[in-house]
Amino acid sequence: MIKKTDINTLKVTGDFSNDMISEFKKHYNDLKKKSVKPVIDLSEVEHAGTLAVAFLEFISRNKKIEIRTGESLRSEIDKFASESGYGNSEAKLSFLDRTVVTVSDFFKELVSFTVLSADIFYYSIGSVFNSSGRRKGSVFEQMLLMGNNAVPIVALLSFLIGLVLSLQSAAQLKQFGANIYIVDLIVIGMILEMGPILTSVIIAGRTGSAIAAEISTMKITEELDALKVMALNPLKYVVAPKMLSLTVCLPILTILSNLVGILGGFVIGILYLDLSFDMFFNRTIEVMTLYFWWQSMLKSVLFSWLIVLIGAHFGFKVKGGSEAVGKAATSSVVAAIFAIIMTDAVLSLIFYFEW
C-alpha cells in the first residue's frame, strides 16, 4: 500500500509488487516536485518484486532523496546494484574519464587502421609482382563487379549533375553575356571536383559497404580463420584483389564521369545558351589541360585507396553477430565519404594555392 504520510514523506507498507511501480512513480514524481526534503519510507515493506527492487535501486542513486529501508530490502537493493554492474566504479565514469576513454579509443583505432593500411599496401604491391596467395582471375572478377557494373549509375548521375550544374550557372552567366564561360565552369568543375567526388561517393556507397559487409561476414562465419589455417593470408587473398582492381577502376570511372558531366553541360550550352558545337568543343579543348586531368586522377586513386582501406578496417574489426555486419557496412560508408571530402578539401587547397 502506498500513501503520503505528510508533505515530505511517501510511505509504502506490506507488499511492493511489480504492478505497483506505476502508482508509486506518480506519487514519487509529485513528491519530488512539491517537497524540499523528500523522504521515502520503505521500512515497513515486507516483500518487493524484482522489478520494484530495480526501480528502488535506480531512485536510490538520487542523493537528494532520503530512502529508509529495512535490512532485508536494503540488502536486496545492494545485491541488485552489484549484479547489474552499477556497484562498480566503471559504470560511474565522470565526464572527464569518459572523454579520456573516447580519445584513447580513437587513437587506438587510428593506430590499428594505420597498421592494417600498411599491411594492405604491402600485400597489394607484392601481389602485383607475385600472384601466389591470391585467386586466379580474382582481380579481373573484382574489376567487373566494382567497375563495369557501376558504369550505368556513374554515367547517369554524372550526366544529370553536369546538366543541372550548367543549368543553374547558365542563368547567371546569361545576364552578363558570358555564355561561353559555361564551358570553363563545367570543364573545371567536373574534372577537378565533381567527377572525382561524385564517382568516389557512389563507389563508397556501392563498393565500400560491400567490402565491409563481405569481410565482416567472413570474419563472423570463420571464413577468414579457415583461410589462415589453409596457410593463406586473408589480406592477400581477399583484400589485395579489391585494392588492385579499384585502383584501376576508380580513375577510369572518374574519366567517364568527367566526360559525361561535360556532355550534360554541352546539352545546356547548345539548347539554352545558343552556343554552337564548334564553340563548345574548341573552348573545351582550350580549357582542359593535362594538369587538371592529373589532379583528377591523383584524387581518384587516393579516394579508391581510402574506400578499400576503410571498408577493410570496419570489416576486420567487427565483433558479434549478423547485426554487426550491417553496422560495419554503414560505418564504412559514413567514414569513407567523410575521409574522401576531407582529403579532397586538403588537396584542392594545396593545388589551388600551389603549396
Binding site: 586466379k136 561476414t217 567472413m218 562465419t221 570463420e222 571464413e223 579457415a226 583461410l227 589455417v229 596457410a231
Partner: protein
Amino acid sequence: MDNENVIEIKNLTAGFDGRTVLYDISLEVKRNEIFVILGSSGGGKTTLLKHIIGLLRPEKGSISIFGKNTLEMEVDEFESILKRIGMLFQGGALLNSMEVWENIAIPLEQHTDLENEVIHRIIRQKLSLVNLRDAYYLLPSELSGGMKKRVSLARAIVMDPEILFFDEPTAGLDPITSADLDKLILDLKKKLGITLVIVTHELESIKRIADRIIYLQKGKNIFCGTIEEAKKAGIEEIDRFFGWNKD
C-alpha cells in the same frame, strides 16, 4: 612411429581482452590417435584448439607441432606446418561466394601447380569420400548443415593432412548424420593414418571415437587419458559429464 608426439603443449596459459581463459595446460597428442578435448561450455576447448593452430597467441608456454615450437617460427615456416594440417570449423567456414568445388580447390590451387583437370578429379574423389558427388556445383547456401560439414571435411583432407582438427563436428546434427560423420572420422584414421584432434561434447560421439581425452574445467586441465582411465579416476565433474554417477 605411432608413439611419436605430433603435438606437444607445455604450460600453456592464454586468454584475451585481459581475461585468462586457459591455465597451465600441458598435453601430448600421439601420431594416429583420436584425441578429444572435452569440457563444459566456456571451459576453453575452442580457445585451446585455436591456440594450437596458431589463430591465437598464448601469454605463456610452448606449442610444438611435429617437434617444432610454432611460437618461435617465422611466418613461412609456420605456413609450411599449416600445409600439413587441416581444420574443420564448427559452421563449416566455407567461402560463401564460391561453389563447393571452388572451396575444395583453394588449397590445391594455391599450394600446388597441378593441372586443372587433375585438380577437378581430386575434388571429385574427395567429394565421393564424403558422399557428396552431386554437390559439386552447389553454393554453400544451398547445402544443409551436415552437408556443409562434409564439404568442409573434404576441403580439410584435400591436401592429405597429417593432423586434422575438428571443432564440434557433430554439433547441431541429427543422431544418424552424427553417427555417419563419426564413421567417416574413424575411416580417415584407419585408411589415411591421420591424427585427429576433436573438440566436442557429444557423449555418444566421444564414446564411439575417442582414443584419449583431455577434460578442461574453467580453463584448467583436470584429466588427460583414456575413457577407461577417466572412469576409474573418480573425478566428480567427469563422472557427472558422462553420467557415471547415476544410481
